[in-house]
Structures are given as structure tokens and as C-alpha cells.
């Protein structure tokens, strides 16, 4: 029998997410998948498994969970207060969750989306090739209290591993390239767009994040009547009220609003994770620089497993010291662990 993780109490906006469901844009379905893709790679590195396994995405706050077998978990993304049977556990790390022990995850201290990964990933039946919920299209739905999720076979053993603390949670500078209708905006409007300090609006979800700002809207010169056109995650569309929206992975496949710019994929996790009110600015980069930045990001993703280190803790603080795997195997510095069959 496979292990199960039961959600005793579900937070208000928890869904199962993975790398999404590509290949259906022509039929009107966007890929969807985790809002913060980087968190999936971090969870995979911490557990020594592939990044395409499904994890629980928790928007704003978590819930309480109990497993029916000893399982490995990892916690990534926005930092949330977490404990196992009352003992605080470190975020951005992997842990052992013993059978029957209660994992409690509270509200986000920074960022917007926290992730709960399990060794072997969640093994729910795939729908059209993926396990991620696509709320906008009615595939899957919010995870509910009482729901019990099956886990895949876990071939890893290490727990109490961690990664350097990520810093993508406070908004900041977001790199963009020109998009389809950038030239339809006046140079003055573009100039104002890159000099304005935006704030992440409370109106934000898995489809898009609205940018709040003071002053006039960012309309195109004449009321631009553009024919409905393809939309990709990262597009910044300026809707009727003049506010920029950064479109996320669950956006629609087409849209009729002008796109002022497109966020580099490597900076999308920072947009997804910015908390309400966090300050955001946009900076245009040339295509060649964008390609270099994205390539560097992808190289960093590949190197994540080599950056995993054991959690340093005072052994006197560890109540269940004997349950830990204290000696683990050697790792190769050159192999790409994501390519290995785990």
C-alpha cells in the first residue's frame, strides 16, 4: 500500500501543482502549474528527486497534515510558521514526518505561496498528463479538509537538508523585454512605466497580478483596438482601467488588451511571491541580455542539488535524534541529479 497524507484542516487556497499541462493552447487551455516554479526545483533538490512531481501549493497559509507512514517532506517558497507535534521545523528544508505526527503550517511570514513537497511526490491520477489543478478551467480544485492524497514511491532517504535562503519574496526590480504592442505606447508612457514604483495589488491570483500605482493609467495613445491575440505567462497587459497586470501561468490563452512588456521567465517567481503592497519596478533589457539572464537562471536551477547542505542544529535540541539518518551517501559534484532515475 502506498502512503497517504491526510489534510486534517485545509487552508483557504491550497491546490496540487506541478509543472503544468503544456500542449493545449490551440484548444484554449493554458499550461497552468505552480505559481513559483523555482520552489518546485528547490523541493526536488531537497528531497533528491525530479522537479516535475506534484506538491501542495499554499496561497497565504497552510493547514494541518498527518501521514499514515513515515514520510519525507520539504517546505519551500514563502516562509510559513511550521511545526511537527508542536516542535518548530525550519522552512526551506527537508524533514521526517513520522506516521501519525501532526504537521501544522501557519500563515506566510513573507511571500505569497508556500509549498509542501513529499518524497515520491503526490500520486493522484493525472488529468491530461498533469496533476496540477487548473482552477480557471475547472480541472481539479481547492484541496479540502479530510482529503487524503496518495504518495508515489519514495526512493530517497535524506532528511534535515537545507538550501541557502532565497530572497525573492519582497518584490524589487523585475526585468522585462519588449512585447507585441510595446511600440503602441508613447515613449513618455514607457518612460513613466519604468520610473514608476508599483505595489503588488491585493487583486492577484494564479491568473494574474495587478500592479497598483499613483497617478495616471498607462493607456496606449489612441484607444487601441487590437485584435485578440495569444497570451503567454509573463505578459504585462494594460487593461481598461490603465493598470498593468502581470499574467501568470493560469492566464487565458488569448487576450485583447495591449501588452506593454513581457517579464523574463527567471523573474516570474519574484512577481508571484511579492506580498500585497511589496514595491515592484520594471526594467527593460535587450533580447541578448534577456537570453543571458535566463540561461544563467537555468544553470542555477541545475546546480541547486549541489547546493543542498545538512541542517546545522544543536544535537541537544533534537528530541528525536536517533530517528535521523546521520550518515548519508557521497554525491557527485558534476552529475545533474535531475537527470538521474531516482
Amino acid at each position: 500500500m502506498s502512503a497517504h497524507l491526510t489534510i486534517q484542516q485545509a487552508g483557504p487556497a491550497m491546490t496540487l501543482q506541478d509543472m503544468g499541462r503544456p500542449g493545449y493552447r490551440a484548444e484554449g487551455l493554458t499550461g497552468g502549474g505552480a505559481a513559483d516554479r523555482l520552489a518546485l526545483y528547490e523541493g526536488a533538490a531537497l528531497l533528491g528527486q525530479k522537479p516535475d512531481l506534484a506538491a501542495i501549493e499554499m496561497a497565504g497559509s497552510g493547514g494541518t497534515f498527518v501521514a499514515d507512514a513515515d514520510i519525507r517532506i520539504a517546505l519551500t517558497g514563502a516562509e510559513m510558521a511550521a511545526n511537527i507535534d508542536g516542535e518548530a521545523v525550519v522552512w526551506n528544508a527537508s524533514h521526517l514526518l513520522s506516521a501519525g505526527a501532526k504537521l501544522t503550517i501557519g500563515g506566510a511570514r513573507n511571500g505569497s505561496y508556500g509549498y509542501l513537497h513529499v518524497g515520491g511526490g503526490f500520486d493522484t491520477p493525472p488529468v491530461m498528463g498533469a496533476r496540477s489543478a487548473h482552477m480557471a478551467c475547472g480541472i481539479g480544485g481547492l484541496l479540502q479538509s479530510g482529503e487524503s492524497l496518495p504518495l508515489g514511491a519514495d526512493k530517497g532517504r535524506d532528511v534535515a537538508m537545507t538550501l541557502p535562503k532565497p530572497d525573492r519574496f519582497g518584490g524589487g526590480r523585475i526585468r522585462v523585454v519588449a512585447s507585441m504592442q510595446t511600440t503602441a505606447f508613447t515613449p513618455e508612457t514607457i518612460d513613466r512605466f519604468v520610473t514608476t514604483t508599483f505595489r503588488r495589488d491585493a487583486r492577484a491570483n494564479r491568473m494574474g497580478v495587478r500592479m497598483d500605482f499613483d497617478g495616471d493609467g498607462f493607456a496606449t495613445e489612441e484607444q487601441l483596438s487590437i485584435v485578440s491575440e495569444v497570451v503567454v505567462p509573463g505578459d504585462i497587459q494594460v487593461s481598461g482601467d490603465g493598470a498593468p497586470y502581470v499574467l501568470m501561468y493560469e492566464c487565458q490563452t488569448t487576450g485583447g488588451y495591449p501588452r506593454i512588456a513581457a517579464v523574463l521567465p527567471c523573474d516570474l517567481p519574484r512577481v508571484a511571491q511579492a506580498q500585497t503592497g511589496a514595491e515592484i519596478t520594471f526594467e527593460f533589457v535587450e533580447m541578448a541580455e534577456a537570453v543571458a539572464l535566463q540561461a544563467r537562471f537555468e544553470a542555477e536551477l541545475k546546480s541547486l542539488p549541489s547546493r543542498v547542505t545538512p541542517l546545522v542544529r544543536d544535537p541537544a535540541d533534537i528530541r528525536d535524534l536517533l530517528s535521523y539518518q546521520l550518515v548519508s551517501g557521497a554525491v557527485s559534484a558534476t552529475a545533474n541529479p535531475f537527470d538521474e532515475e531516482t
Partner: protein, 245 residues
Amino acid sequence: MSDWPRIQTVGLSGLLITFAAAMSEPANRAALSFRAAVDAQDWPEVKETSTSLVSTFLEVDLATTPAESMEERLRDLLQSQDWFSAPLPAGRTLWHVPTVYGTDLAPQLEEAARVAGVDPDAAIKEISTSRVRVLTIGFAPGQPYTGELSETWNIPRQQGLTKSVPACALVVAIRQLIVFTNDTPTGWRHIGQTLFKTFRPDKPKPFTLAPGDELLFPAISRAEYDEIKTKDTSGLGGATHEALT
């Protein structure tokens, strides 16, 4: 035609080939045919392709594939024929979708007819015999934008939104018909009701329609509608289909 078609990058996500500034039958035909031609090339860099009303999109990771090399290949392919008069791709399907016009199921038939300047019977007669093409699929999964109807139906969307029009509704505006995937707030007028589901995620083939497919919406009575509703388990709502050759 010197400005068109136009090739642009879309962020780092791919390339867009746009055939016109506004919707037209030849530009839509060009987008559909060009997509089929790109698919036939089977370029390994292309992850997926799609069309919107007048454009073809290729998803390509521009961080690993230089845009220039793709643009060059696309220009060569564009120059290989006149896409605006290209035959439509093979493998398309013609659908007959039983539809109740008007009644309490579709309360805006009379209003739409009035805006179009025809009487309701003439409206039903024309729309139920107009063969339309899936111009693009979007907004919701599987949801077709079809056209083009005659110039009579070049009517604007209404000013205010109808709070919710039910799934499988047939709605009209700007010479196009849509069958809604889900209950939707809309400015399009609700003139007919079908039981035709365009997205069935639990089926092996979840999307009923593909861009380029054609549809007819023959009129049925309320009694026939009720009977289909009781008996249909496929989700196709009594629709039949045949291969287009």
C-alpha cells in the same frame, strides 16, 4: 500587403506570425494553413503551435534557440506560397449541433434580431442554416469563436454585461457565434441553447472542436431538446459530425 505577414517575438516564449491588423476570412485562413505547414515541418525547437483569429504562434524557448534562426526559417516558409488563398488544412470536421432558438432558454433572440434589423423567424432561418468555421478557440478551454455570419449580424456587443449566460449557450455579436464552455458573464446576446459540451476533461479526447472545424446549428423544438437532455450521456448534446474533405 507589404506590412503583412509580420513576425514578432513574444517575450522569451516564442514567435508570432500575424497576417492582418483585423479579423478577415483570408487572414484567418492564412493563420490556420500556416500553422498546419509549421506542424508539418516538425521542427524540434517548436514545443507547440496555436492560432488566434489572424495569427499563428510557435512556442519556442528563445533562451536556448536564437530568434533570428527561427525567423529566417519562418520567412522562407511564408514565401513558399500565398497563405491568404491557401486551402484549409485537411482532417477537419463538420458538426451539426441541435439548437433551441429563443424561448425562455435563450431570451435574447428577439432583441438580437431587432438590433440586426430582421424579424425573429428570419433570424432563426438564417442562423440555423449558416455554416460557420471555428476561427479560433480561447477564453475558456475548448470555447470556439466561429464565423463569419452575413453582414446582417455585424451587431455590437450589448453595453452592459449579462450576469451569467449558461454553459452551452449560443451567443452572437460582430458576425460571430460562440458556444460557451462555462456559465459566463458576457456582452454577447444569448439567442440559442444547445447541450453541446466543447470541453470534456474526463474524456480521452477532451476538446470537441479544433480550429478550422465547421458547424451548423439546426433548429430543434423544446420537446426535442428535453429528450436529448434526458438521454444524452456523451456530452455532445445530440450533435452529429462528418469528416470534411
